[in-house]
């Protein structure tokens, strides 16, 4: 079984448009937060078979630094902002106006800078989606974690996995001055939220 092509699948195409709008809002927020340095401009909405979750999103089986926001409730999900260690450290240094820290342990201030980044992005995304699908989505406070990206993504798709062998993952990548950064934002809705998004889009068409 292969991943669905978002260009051919009409539902995915509509969801792509919805997320493009939300990404635009998130990009504006990110630009303000980083004084114009970082923007979000690429996004894809993909439905992939369960067995491909670890391999389809280029997160590999390596350690990543992540900020996670939960959307609690049946119509919920996870927003996962992911970097490799070096890029996470660079972002924190840039936000704090300092040199990149080389200690093995992250300082509370560095973690705080990344968590705030996740918070800003998460709230921008959720405000846009709330507006578009008329369902209130309230993210939890962000939390910082370092783990295998595939492990985290695997758990995030679990409610979808209960009813389907394919899962929907929305992936946004970042740019700085037209250069792609090795960061990602994954938004993984629960099955109930996914159904609500598709229903809202059907109604508006």
């Amino acid at each position: 079984m292969t991943a669905s092509d978002p260009i051919l699948d009409p539902t995915l195409r509509i969801l792509q448009q919805l997320f493009a709008t939300a990404t635009h809002d998130a990009s504006s927020a990110m630009c303000r937060w980083t004084n114009g340095l970082i923007s979000l401009s690429l996004d894809e909405v993909r439905e992939v078979p369960l067995e491909a979750v670890s391999t389809e999103f280029a997160i590999g089986n390596d350690l990543l630094t992540m900020v996670v926001l939960n959307l609690d409730g049946e119509k919920g999900g996870q927003l996962i902002l992911a970097f490799d260690e070096a890029n996470g450290r660079k972002l924190a240094a840039s936000l704090l106006g300092r040199e990149v820290c080389t200690d093995s342990e992250w300082t509370p201030l560095e973690e705080s800078a990344l968590k705030e980044t996740g918070n800003i992005l998460g709230c921008a995304y959720m405000n846009a989606l709330t507006r578009l699908i008329d369902t209130e989505l309230v993210p939890s406070p962000p939390y910082f974690m370092q783990d295998y990206g595939a492990s985290v993504l695997e758990q995030a798709v679990m409610t979808q996995a209960m009813t389907s062998d394919n899962v929907l993952v929305c992936n946004t990548r970042f740019q700085r001055d037209d250069e792609d950064l090795d960061w990602s934002v994954f938004f993984v809705p629960t099955q109930a939220l996914r159904n609500a998004m598709e229903d809202a889009l059907q109604t508006s068409c």
Binding site: T55, Q78, Y148, V152, E154
Partner: protein
């Protein structure tokens, strides 16, 4: 894509969610686990084994790949081994995973349910559970060595260890 090390031990591709990988010697079979269970069944005398990446505890009539649910994965794994001449009587099991990265929030507390389901089913089918690394709040990377039956476990922030 498989890779081969300089000592001619093949490293298989990652066993993904819901997949089952039959592993013949000498080979290394990896998997990355969150709340899922990586279950290794190893037959020492035959030098073969099988790795299942189990996602959910019970099928409850749902269809899907056999490796997805513990109650379909384990009988399927045993049948695949029998087909290769590795009878259930000679098998031992090792279990890894069942974590919960999102603490008390996030999607379900499925890790615990998976651990319990796999443990019960191993008892039901008479396969002794030799060792395990399960639970907690971190993901795991496992590598099963079909030549030795060992399972290396890597958890972020800890030294790798073998079960």
């Amino acid at each position: 894509m498989t890779t081969t090390t300089s000592t001619d031990v093949t490293t298989l591709p990652l066993t993904g969610m819901g997949q089952i990988s039959f592993v013949q010697s000498p080979a290394l079979a990896p998997a990355v686990l969150g709340s899922c269970i990586g279950l290794v069944l190893h037959h020492r005398r035959c030098g073969v084994g099988i790795l299942g990446h189990i996602v959910l505890p019970k099928s409850e009539g749902r269809t899907g790949p056999p490796g997805k649910f513990a109650d379909t994965a384990i009988p399927h794994m045993l049948e695949l081994l029998r087909n290769e001449g590795a009878q259930t009587a000679g098998l031992t099991a090792k279990m890894v995973g069942g974590g919960n990265m999102f603490g008390n929030s996030g999607p379900l507390q499925i890790g615990v349910a998976n651990i319990e389901a796999v443990t019960e089913l191993l008892k039901k089918y008479g396969v002794p559970l030799r060792s395990q690394s399960v639970g907690g709040l971190k993901g795991r990377r496992l590598t099963y060595n079909s030549e030795t039956g060992s399972v290396q476990v890597e958890i972020v922030g800890e030294e790798p260890f073998t079960i």
